[in-house]
């Protein structure tokens, strides 16, 4: 199915845009804005509003129509989670209904990585960008071990608290140190016969689902991921495992 943006007629390609140009407001600025929108490939570009902001900056609202289209049937998504992401409340509800016990999750920045910003964003009470962290979930027992945790210690701890899932955060990616470190965790788990015991997840700004799965993880979460995504993935996997058991 070929699609374009919808204004008031199917596939009319209508798009609204707003942006700033580093020039004063005025006829020349407006014409520059219109030409710019046409250069983006829009037809019938129209500047419907402009105003001066600071010295030498002006703001524009524009409309245009595009002939560019996409074939919806060929669209593939790479995320670990599908279309449905549970909110915190929904995730807890699903856990209560389907598992009837608390889900235990252990997370850490492993190896020499001292950057807890990623694991904190997912796990800390406050969360990130208005998405609560896993500690805030009533039906999740979250253990954030912090930074520079050796892989074997992380596994020991996960066993001790009878964890369902292990989260590994890797922010530092210089010389691909994150790949070595992520690989080591999987190898240690395999050597101890524990790979299937846990759902193992990796996260970080440069880590996507594709990379994580290639390295032997159940899933990976990159930029733009929140606790909601991670919780949804873990909960769905646990339910799937329960049904398969």
């Amino acid at each position: 199915m070929i699609i374009r943006p919808y204004g008031d007629t199917l596939n009319d390609g209508a798009v609204q845009l707003s942006f700033t140009l580093p020039v004063p407001d005025g006829p020349r600025g407006r014409e520059a804005a219109r030409v710019f929108v046409e250069k983006l490939g829009f037809k019938h570009a129209e500047i419907v509003h402009s105003h001066a902001m600071a010295d030498g900056f002006s703001f524009y609202v524009a409309y245009g129509k595009t002939e560019t289209s996409v074939d919806f049937d060929t669209i593939q998504i790479e995320e670990a989670t599908g279309e449905k992401i549970y909110t915190m409340g929904e995730a807890c509800e699903v856990i209560r209904e389907n598992l009837g016990r608390k889900v235990v999750i252990v997370g850490a920045c492993t190896g020499f990585d001292a950057h807890t910003v990623g694991i904190d964003a997912i796990m800390n009470m406050k969360g990130y960008n208005h998405h609560y962290g896993l500690e805030r979930y009533q039906e999740i027992e979250a253990h954030n071990l912090g930074a520079q945790v050796p892989n074997d210690k992380l596994i020991d701890y996960a066993l001790k608290v009878n964890a369902d899932a292990i989260l590994v955060s890797q922010i530092v990616t210089q010389k691909d140190v994150h790949i070595q470190n992520m690989t080591e965790l999987i190898e240690l788990l395999q050597a101890r016969g524990l790979r299937e015991r846990f759902i193992v997840i990796a996260g970080g700004t440069r880590i996507g689902n594709k990379l994580a799965v290639e390295l032997g993880y159940d899933g990976g979460f990159g930029k733009g991921s929140y606790a909601d995504h991670v919780a949804t993935f873990i909960v769905d996997r646990l339910i799937e495992r329960k049904h398969n058991a």
């Binding site: 707003s18 902001m53 010295d55 900056f57 910003v117 406050k126 960008n129 208005h130």
Partner: protein, 519 residues
């Protein structure tokens, strides 16, 4: 102040009495202690500045050298070194940066040290007094030119020179207050970087040179637009008092400074924070700097409807802590926020009740009102409406400091156009309903009045509970923001030092005398 909510005066008085009793034992602890950053702040007030070739700041070099001698006060050794070497402050700083250890010099004649210290205190006092007088003169010169409430914008490029452009643009667009957001996690650094900086993540390092650069840029804007522009930064985190000291020296006008925020949201040790906040606030008070407290943060982890009373209770405590540090009410930018779920029926009425209640309970405080953030979604069009409602409440209840809501909140740090649209939104709403507040009264026994009474009652009950537990125990039990913080945990505890019987800090003594504080 005209009252519209008929709040019972005895309840408000009871809350204040409880706050006095809650804060008293904490202040007794504070009086007996100092911290590495209080010592470094004192050194900075005396003129210690600069850094060694590894970038370690001179105040840190000194305090690190004095590890076991801090109970006597770091300033003693610094002043002693000035006397012994006959150096100027700048000369001594350079020597320390080059490796001189002030703690290794034998202590000399005490009266010479006292004389030298008095000289340094006077130099500090003169400089900060000039700053205060300059601000006051400009506020008189440009009286009536600021918006009411004052419109507050943030810049956060990471590069101080880029921040300058954005700040000047914000001033041109009509901002009254410009805050430079700090780089991520600066609050957890136990030192203040030195010099101008151009690389930060999500914000710009708070350094004294950056303060100076931004102050100069905004002073240009003040003259150009005929309106005083308040410069704001963060006296918070592990270097809270040092940043307050830098702010006093470089004429900042507002500083974010909360008595409990660092403990709860940055996991900084509570003893450390309580000691640090007192000294910071004394400096702020002397410099005429308005503090902004962080109650809005409670609502990011707790529900704004259910836990509204914790915001009010914290305002009472912040007020008490501020009085205990010599801050007058007019410098207390007590915080709160428009953070209720937009799906709630009559949520707007509850927000209005909360804001009006704060206004009536703290009539002299320039209340700092924070925009919606938690329920901003990325739907920028809805965001504009949410911000418009927030702007309405702020104007209708006479808030003091109005943080502008960004339509792109939850998406990215603001673009120039986001700020411009936010200012247009606020100016439109506030001008269009400028005198509405004087025209409306609230219905006796109506939703708004009942809600305000209920929140006050709950805050009093909560303060009673805190008083019984003791503030530190209450924080250990997670009574605030549902976050538990054990008293012997958290960052910075190792920087806490019990003052010795001979503790030397004439700056502290001077500030206490000036602010009319005991001891």
């Amino acid at each position: 102040m005209e009252t519209k909510l008929a709040l019972p005066a005895d309840k408000i008085a009871q809350a204040r009495e409880l706050s006095v009793r809650i804060v008293k034992p904490v202040m007794d602890f504070v009086e007996a202690h100092t911290t590495v950053t209080v010592e470094r702040a004192t050194l900075r007030l005396a003129g210690a500045d600069g850094a060694d070739s590894d970038g370690v700041p001179v105040p840190n070099l000194i305090v690190d050298q004095l590890k076991n001698k801090l109970e006597a006060g770091a300033l003693l050794y610094y002043v002693n070194a000035l006397v012994k070497t006959g150096e100027t402050v700048e000369g001594l700083n350079a020597k320390i940066a080059a490796g001189l250890r002030v703690g290794d010099l034998p202590l000399g004649d005490r009266s010479a040290i006292d004389r030298k210290a008095s000289e340094l205190v006077r130099a500090f006092s003169d400089r900060v007094t000039r700053n205060r007088q300059h601000r006051e003169a400009k506020l008189v010169e440009f009286e009536g030119k600021n918006h009411s409430p004052m419109l507050y914008l943030i810049v956060a490029t990471g590069n101080i020179f880029e921040d300058v452009k954005q700040a000047q643009a914000a001033a041109e667009q009509g901002a009254d207050v410009v805050a430079v957001i700090r780089t991520t996690a600066q609050s957890l650094l136990d030192y203040v970087p030195y010099g101008a900086t151009t690389e930060g993540f999500g914000g710009t390092y708070a350094t004294q040179e950056n303060f100076r650069i931004m102050r100069a840029a905004l002073d240009e804007a003040v003259e150009k637009h005929g309106r005083y522009i308040y410069l704001t930064n963060y006296a918070s985190g592990l270097c809270m008092p040092e940043i307050a000291a830098m702010g006093a020296l470089e004429r900042l006008d507002m500083m974010l400074n909360d008595s409990m925020y660092g403990i709860l949201f940055r996991d900084i040790n509570m003893y450390r924070t309580f000691v640090d906040q007192k000294f910071s606030r004394m400096i702020n008070a002397f410099a005429g700097v308005i503090i902004n407290t962080g109650e809005d943060n409670y609502l990011t982890t707790s529900d704004a409807v259910e836990k509204a009373y914790t915001v009010l209770a914290s305002q009472f405590l912040n007020e008490r802590f501020a009085y205990a540090a010599g801050l007058p009410a007019k410098l207390m930018g007590l915080g709160h926020a428009f953070e209720m779920d937009p799906e709630i029926k009559n949520g707007f009425l509850l927000e209005l009740a909360q804001a009006q209640m704060a206004r009536e309970i703290f009539p002299e405080a320039p209340l700092k009102y924070m925009p919606p953030t938690k329920f901003m979604t990325g739907d920028i069009f809805k965001g504009v409406v949410q911000n418009a409602l927030f702007n309405f409440v702020s104007q209708a209840t006479g808030q003091g400091i109005h943080l502008l809501g960004m339509l792109t909140e939850a998406i990215h740090t603001p673009y120039m156009q986001d700020r411009s649209l936010a200012l247009e939104n606020a100016k439109y709403v506030m001008n269009n309903m400028a005198d509405l507040a004087g025209e409306i009264e609230f219905k006796q026994g109506g939703i708004i009045m009942n809600r305000a009474h209920q929140v006050l009652d709950e805050a009093v009950a909560f303060l009673q509970k805190i008083e019984q537990l003791g503030l530190m125990d209450a924080m250990e039990k997670g009574e605030f923001a549902e976050i538990k913080r054990p008293r012997d945990m958290g960052k910075g505890l190792d920087g806490l030092v019990k003052k010795g019987p001979e503790y030397f800090n004439p700056f502290e003594g001077y500030l206490k005398a000036e602010l009319g504080l005991e001891g």
